[in-house]
Symmetry: C3
Subunit: 262 residues, 3 copies
Amino acid sequence: MAINLLSELRQRNPIVLNLANLVTIQDVANGLNALGASPIMSAEVQEAEPLVQLAGAVCLNLGTLTTSQVAQMHAVGQFAAQYQKPVVLDPVAVGAVTYRKRVALELLAALDVTVIRGNAGEIAALADVDWQARGIDAGTGNGDLVAIARACAQRFHCIVILSGPTDVITDGTRVAKVLNGTPLFQRHVGSGDLLSSIVAAFLAVSTDPFEAAQTACLVFAASGELVARQLTANRPATFGIDLIDKLSLVSGPELTAIQKLE
Amino acid sequence: MAINLLSELRQRNPIVLNLANLVTIQDVANGLNALGASPIMSAEVQEAEPLVQLAGAVCLNLGTLTTSQVAQMHAVGQFAAQYQKPVVLDPVAVGAVTYRKRVALELLAALDVTVIRGNAGEIAALADVDWQARGIDAGTGNGDLVAIARACAQRFHCIVILSGPTDVITDGTRVAKVLNGTPLFQRHVGSGDLLSSIVAAFLAVSTDPFEAAQTACLVFAASGELVARQLTANRPATFGIDLIDKLSLVSGPELTAIQKLE
Amino acid sequence: MAINLLSELRQRNPIVLNLANLVTIQDVANGLNALGASPIMSAEVQEAEPLVQLAGAVCLNLGTLTTSQVAQMHAVGQFAAQYQKPVVLDPVAVGAVTYRKRVALELLAALDVTVIRGNAGEIAALADVDWQARGIDAGTGNGDLVAIARACAQRFHCIVILSGPTDVITDGTRVAKVLNGTPLFQRHVGSGDLLSSIVAAFLAVSTDPFEAAQTACLVFAASGELVARQLTANRPATFGIDLIDKLSLVSGPELTAIQKLE
């Protein structure tokens, strides 16, 4: 864990290029900006190369994929390899929709993905583990989450973040866990999308992607937990606003005090 | 009226497939999620069939229509008929733009629409009643709103919700009204979009679409009214946040206490 | 300066047609609506002509441009010239991405743009002044902002708003400045997008575009400053909500009391 990456990020203000989920594009941009990164979103393949050159990292989100966006993801991913920029893939709903799983597998075969960030249903699907995913939600299953995440990481030779009540981060060998969080993350659409883009922001300011992934999970989960402690009722929209505010305010000492790691 | 459908909805957590208005896609997803449904948004026709199979109901919103989205709506609508999933159509701005009216009429001719939800200007346009619609707003006219809604329902053989200060719900014969509400709904973009998707969520957990439509209108209008009572000034953005929170918090007894029906 | 344009705007409720940045489309629609205008967003070129006819002004935003959206911008811009509707161009990130600059220059060559609204990096790029823009952010440079704005206005024969801590408004000869504001505008994604669309709303209710541009800048900057004064911490998401609320609440006397002009 490297909590000091947070001040590094705020000082360097890395540009994160997002091929975004249109459902949550505004929250993701605001969350990145609040944290201290500089978001840029693009929908046009012709600007792929200059945007990758500008960016410190790239996040590809399958949330509202179209065939033209998938083609743009392939182009952006290839430029990311050429310019050695880290890539995060967020495989939204691949556990529920076979078409999306095929798209994700093609991207993973063609590109050099640094981190896959998904919920249990999504990571299980990519690892070919039996699981009952449910639309965009994680769904339920009996598998061992660490074993599932590890199998996925080994299969695709990358880091996997299986996020949920406990975030599991693994490179296929090493495993770290972040136990912070709040059930309100599941009540607010786009929590996962924002985490994926925040992972990209930390990758942009670190040479150790495993450490960057861990730190991103802690910053996000702990910020949510700190916000939830202040809420007196189950208010998912207020949580979403306060979470973005907190990404701007949260400090290293706060994180050190609250962190629950394994 | 069947207020108990609210707890049914929360227990069953139906998946609602939205072909969404890009202006309000985030609020609609968050509103559905807060209420207790599970939103999924799609922009790709190739995943139409599996998404319809997953979904309990479908909402087609013309707010930012494109020719490719309209083609996707036809495909989704046909799968909805095949898999017997209820369909809500939100004919945004058909009263102001002839092109949009033509698109809506083609969808209504081709598909088995369960509920049309629009404002007075939109429903009047579909019923070929003279009315001065104004952009996305209802505009003004002299017609009898019940007669207009009924004419529209009879023409398209479906349930019509003409929403506004008073919501009129009709299947062409029966008429119900929900008198709850607040002028802040008109000050917050996307109130109508969210209501349409909430109607779809209630359709997914009921075998009586007229009752589901009524209940959706009550839950939405009463939640807004309860929120507005707490606001000390005309704050449309705070209203939008508090409304989503309230969809998560509102209870059957609160609805019973506040309901104003005819 | 014509603060009375605010009540004129609220009385006339002008329709503003936006070819929008998908990142901020919801905030822009809500901000326009709160202020007292009527937003309509479109993604389909086939409805270009009727929407331009309905609208009092048009805002073209390059934030998430695609080749099909750019074609739509050319069509909308040509109808705007035909029906004599004012046009605002927001050249997002043209300082950082050559492709976007080329698109902007082609639009400026083909269309009759009334106002260009950009940050220092964007306006410097259009004026061919050396500047270090940074993604969507203004970046840094040594140039004289007034000279840069004036050069841009002279080159494109239009009004230029170079917005930032100080807003510079110029038609190439006359120069006005609005010194109100808050650093929170930079912490909230879409501040510039919303200002551009608000400029369009004021253009729709004025025959003096220079005065309309000035007034729009004052209303927006002063509303932000008034909101920031009430915040006890650096809360960018709360700022975004409160800003939209304030656009609904702000009054002429408040503006007169707080205005800092040059």
